[in-house]
């Protein structure tokens, strides 16, 4: 006998699922999709009240793979924030869940990212950060560590952009970092982000199976590539299984080996961290960075900041639901204006 587990809306988790993923097997992004499904279900969000937003990239394709009962918009590269902003103005009651990549956000879309934060748009903004442009086959992104080297390319000599530090500096009302393999932590963070009113940013380290940062360690992959020219790319994508699930207790850290053999160190921010203190959040990010670690968890949170729809003083009804009378001024009003302009 199977036991059906339902959420507060009496919905089964399957109501939150999407289409079949076409990403490389083992891609971190698929893990994030599963967590989105889990968190939305656990939070009891009505699927019809959610709007899924994304830009362009492997990461931005994922809205097709979760929340199939929600409308979505897979927009253009780097400019999902503006589309979300416009939709938010018209229907402030929608719950916006947006997915972007590090190329989509930290390069082409950095301007829109910054300004969406400044406006405190009411949305969850997930960056599936893999240090590369997955969809265009592995070029470095602007979040890749300095010193990263590709076999055929130059060493990356540029400093990375830390999207959390940047968001903190811009006064973002909710800033968190996590890892695609940290299902428990990511679910908790996403659930919190979904309940937050305002811009909630979660920078999720989400490794790319196929084009990880360091080509050198990608031995088998390159071997195949160099020895068999006629092979099409999809033919030699290794079938990794997703990274194991990890759960690092607060204040502790652990080394994790990625698909390409490289290692990252994740540290969960301690329970003593004051999430209302931007300065200590920034210190935590920069201290971890100086020790070649990534600090994860909820870094900063402020639930009091007005959103753009608050600040603009919009009428109570979402603008998409206004009647014609509410949208078009009266016949008399135009007569009045004509006469005023006539100087009468």
């Amino acid at each position: 006998m199977t036991i059906l587990k339902l959420n507060v809306l009496n919905l089964d988790k399957s109501e939150y699922k999407g289409g079949k993923s076409s990403l490389c097997p083992g891609c971190g992004h698929d893990q994030v999709s599963n967590v989105i499904i889990q968190a939305a279900w656990e939070n009891g969000l009505p699927p019809e009240g959610i709007a899924k937003m994304s830009g362009i990239g492997c990461s931005s394709k994922t809205p097709a793979y979760f929340l199939g009962k929600s409308h979505g918009f897979n927009t253009v590269h780097g400019r999902m924030p503006s589309v979300t902003t416009g939709a938010n103005m018209i229907n402030k009651d929608l719950s916006f869940i947006a997915v972007s990549g590090d190329g989509d956000t930290a390069s082409i879309g950095i301007g829109q990212f910054i300004h969406a934060i400044r406006r405190n748009i009411d949305m969850v903004y997930i960056i599936e950060n893999n240090g590369v442009y997955g969809l265009t086959k592995g070029q470095y992104s602007a979040t890749v560590e300095k010193g990263s080297k590709k076999k055929k390319g130059a060493i990356n000599e540029q400093n990375p952009i830390d999207l959390c530090a940047m968001a903190l500096n811009l006064g973002c009302s909710f800033v968190a970092r996590s890892f695609s393999g940290s299902k428990k932590q990511l679910t908790a963070l996403l659930r919190a982000a979904m309940s937050h009113k305002g811009m909630a940013i979660i920078d999720v380290i989400s490794p790319c199976v196929t084009f990880a940062n360091n080509d050198e360690s990608y031995r088998s992959y390159n071997y195949v590539k160099e020895n068999d020219e006629v092979l099409h790319l999809v033919d030699y994508i290794s079938h990794f299984s997703p990274l194991e699930e990890i759960d690092i207790p607060e204040g502790q850290y652990r080394e994790i080996e990625l698909f390409d053999g490289s290692k990252i160190v994740l540290e969960t921010i301690g329970s003593s961290h004051d999430t209302s203190n931007i300065v200590s959040a920034l210190r935590a990010v920069h201290e971890a960075e100086s020790q070649n670690k990534h600090v994860t968890g909820l870094l900063y949170y402020n639930g009091e900041m007005p959103t753009t729809t608050d600040a603009l003083g919009l009428t109570g009804t979402p603008l998409s639901q206004l009647s014609e009378e509410e949208g078009r001024p009266t016949f008399e009003s135009l007569n009045l204006i004509n006469n005023r302009l006539r100087g009468l």
């Binding site: 929600s70 103005m89 229907n91 078009r328 135009l334 006539r342």
Partner: protein, 593 residues
């Protein structure tokens, strides 16, 4: 000598940022209120202070609105353009200059009058003498034309609304100017301004403010914009009128306004608004359209409504930012990569700026696509007469939107992109409704909106999109035809050229030609245009750009048998069209045929 009544052209040369705009508008409005048919044109530089500015006022009993080819009264205030301005004046003209500039005016063939404008202004407002000096030429011109100070008072009051002290000081300056001229210049009667019966309904307004009001009556729900000359005043007009016109019962606004970080974002917000079921718009000029192109393509392909007002300035690139042109037409019609085609509404006067302002949203939602309003600096930033805007004559057209499951179930074989009605327009559902949710995308999609790279699916979808926009041809505003009995020459034109066409037409007819005109008001063009071209022996497409952009579009789309009758006259130098110049070029072209 008998004086020339209500037929003269005044050219006022000043520097930007010296406050001359108030004086110029006071002059223009005073004559307008006297019932004299006048038009004003501001030729301003792309800077805030110091560069040369010319304001041209033309009074014409025939109602001609173009700046005219010849100056009758020249005001000299700007030392930087002094010599050039003097060199341009034709013999016989009247010159009025500010003595305190201390530069010579040596033109024996003209009537020259001077006034110590700055010095006199110092007597009234020592600190603002430079600004106030401009009021003295108002006085000087009033004397020359025989305008009384009482006729000016009303315009001064409305220019400095509520600021009693400013009204008093400026009026004093104007009166002093009139007295000084009367005392020192003697009786000058070459030109005079005479009161006429003014239609009490008529008033002057800028095209941009008309578009702004039209958009508000069209129910705009979101305006996202990034400042750029000459379009900013569309946004500023909307912002100005919203509180009065669009405050809901609960005190909140029914239109969100966002000053975006750039045009990429502004148009993105428009798409977001349209996708969510609202009426979103932006306004910009050529450089902004260039940036917006990718999103415009997304609007076309994913079928998301939106409105963009393009107030054309001179391109390419930054070009001449404060000069006018019709240089964006072909870009708008086909903006973005791949095969696209967009609806372009082309107002030719301020009444149509208002009308197309509200209609644009109806077309955008009906055809689920981006609709352009195409204006230009000349129409948008100068003041033109209207007898009053006309209230929308039809309820809003919100297009094929499904709001309930029942509506959806009533449609056989529904799919977001399936042509169930045979008109190319599919039904859509809105986010938040929970009805048939799909992921909108700019990637290839089938009739249900699912990703697809199938050759047939792509081909069929593109064919449907063409059919959809083609279907708008005879729904969009039809051309305005003014046809002669004898169908000799037909002039096909569009946009702000409307204000010059009568004068061009009159000049051409003086040379014995029979000239009909056809003003195109939208793209894709209406089928009436084909009939017009067919009926006329020779047709000339007249436009303000270098390449003949409408001509190019017509060459591609008109039936081949009409092409031999079609010729292009395209000319652009950044200036508003001067009738004589265009008429001469048309005559030349006809001679060469």
């Amino acid at each position: 000598m008998k004086s020339e009544v209500n037929n003269f052209i005044i050219n006022i040369a000043t520097a930007n940022g010296t406050g001359s705009q108030s004086s110029n508008l006071i002059l223009l409005h005073s004559m307008f209120e006297m019932g004299i048919p006048v038009s004003g044109k501001n030729l301003f530089p792309s800077n805030i202070s110091g560069l040369p500015t010319w304001f041209i006022i033309r009074a014409s009993e025939s109602g001609y609105q173009a700046p005219g080819d010849k100056t009758n009264i020249q005001i000299l205030m700007n030392k930087d353009t002094w010599e050039k301005d003097i060199a341009k004046i034709e013999p016989g003209a009247i010159i009025i200059y500010n003595e305190n500039v201390k530069l010579p005016v040596e033109r024996e063939d003209c009537k020259i009058f001077s006034m110590p404008m700055t010095k006199m202004a110092r007597g009234i407002a020592p600190k603002f003498a430079k600004l106030m000096a401009n009021m003295y030429y108002v006085g000087g011109i009033a004397h020359i034309l025989g305008i009384k100070s009482e006729d000016i008072e009303k315009s001064v009051s409305s220019q400095f609304k509520g600021k009693d002290r400013a009204i008093e000081m400026n009026m004093r300056a104007i009166r002093e100017g009139i007295s000084y001229a009367a005392e020192h210049w003697g009786n000058e009667t070459t030109f005079s301004a005479e009161r006429r019966d003014k239609d009490p309904d008529t008033y002057l307004i800028e095209g941009n403010e008309a578009s702004a009001l039209g958009s508000i009556y069209g129910g705009v729900n979101m305006l996202a914009w990034y400042p750029i000359t000459p379009s900013s005043s569309v946004a500023e007009g909307i912002i100005k009128w919203l509180p009065e016109l669009r405050t809901a019962k609960d005190g909140g606004t029914t239109c969100a306004v966002i000053q975006a970080e750039d045009e990429l974002a502004a148009v993105g917000m428009v798409l977001g608004a349209g996708w969510a079921g609202g009426r979103g718009m932006t306004c910009t000029s050529g450089p902004g359209i260039s940036l917006m192109s990718e999103f415009i393509g997304l609007s076309y392909f994913a079928e998301v409504p939106g409105v963009i007002w393009d107030v054309n300035r001179v391109g390419p690139s930054t070009g001449l930012p404060t000069r006018t042109q019709q240089g964006d037409l072909s870009m708008l019609y086909e903006a973005s990569h791949g095969d696209t085609q967009h609806i372009v509404l082309i107002p030719g006067n301020v009444d149509e700026c208002f009308e197309f302002g509200w209609r644009a949203f109806d077309y955008a939602e009906r055809y689920q696509t981006m609709v352009f309003g195409f204006s230009d600096l000349d129409l948008g930033m100068n003041r033109w007469p209207t007898t009053g805007f006309v209230y929308p004559d039809s309820p809003m057209d919100r297009g094929k939107v499904i709001h309930t499951q029942k509506q959806l179930d009533a449609i056989e074989n529904y799919g977001r992109y399936r042509d169930v009605d045979g008109d190319g327009i599919a039904y859509r559902t809105l986010p938040g409704s929970g009805i048939d949710p799909i992921l909108y995308r700019g990637t290839g999609h089938d009739e249900d909106g699912i990703y697809s790279e199938e050759p047939d699916v792509y081909h069929k979808n593109m064919a449907r999109l063409r059919k959809k926009i083609e279907g708008s041809r005879d729904v969009l505003p039809a051309p305005i035809l003014r046809e002669e009995e004898i169908k000799e020459v037909g002039i096909v034109f569009y946009g702000s050229m409307e204000y010059t066409i009568t004068e061009i037409d009159d000049i051409l007819e003086q040379s014995g030609l029979s000239v009909s005109t056809c003003r195109v008001r939208a793209l894709p063009y209406h089928s009436d245009l084909e009939g017009f071209i067919d009926r006329h022996e020779t047709n000339i497409v007249l436009e303000m750009n270098r390449d003949g952009q409408l001509y190019g579009i017509l060459r591609r789309e008109l039936p081949v048998k009409l092409l031999s009758k079609l010729h292009s006259l395209a000319y652009s130098d950044g200036m508003p069209p001067r009738a004589r110049l265009y008429a001469d070029k048309i005559l030349q072209l006809l001679e060469g045929l």
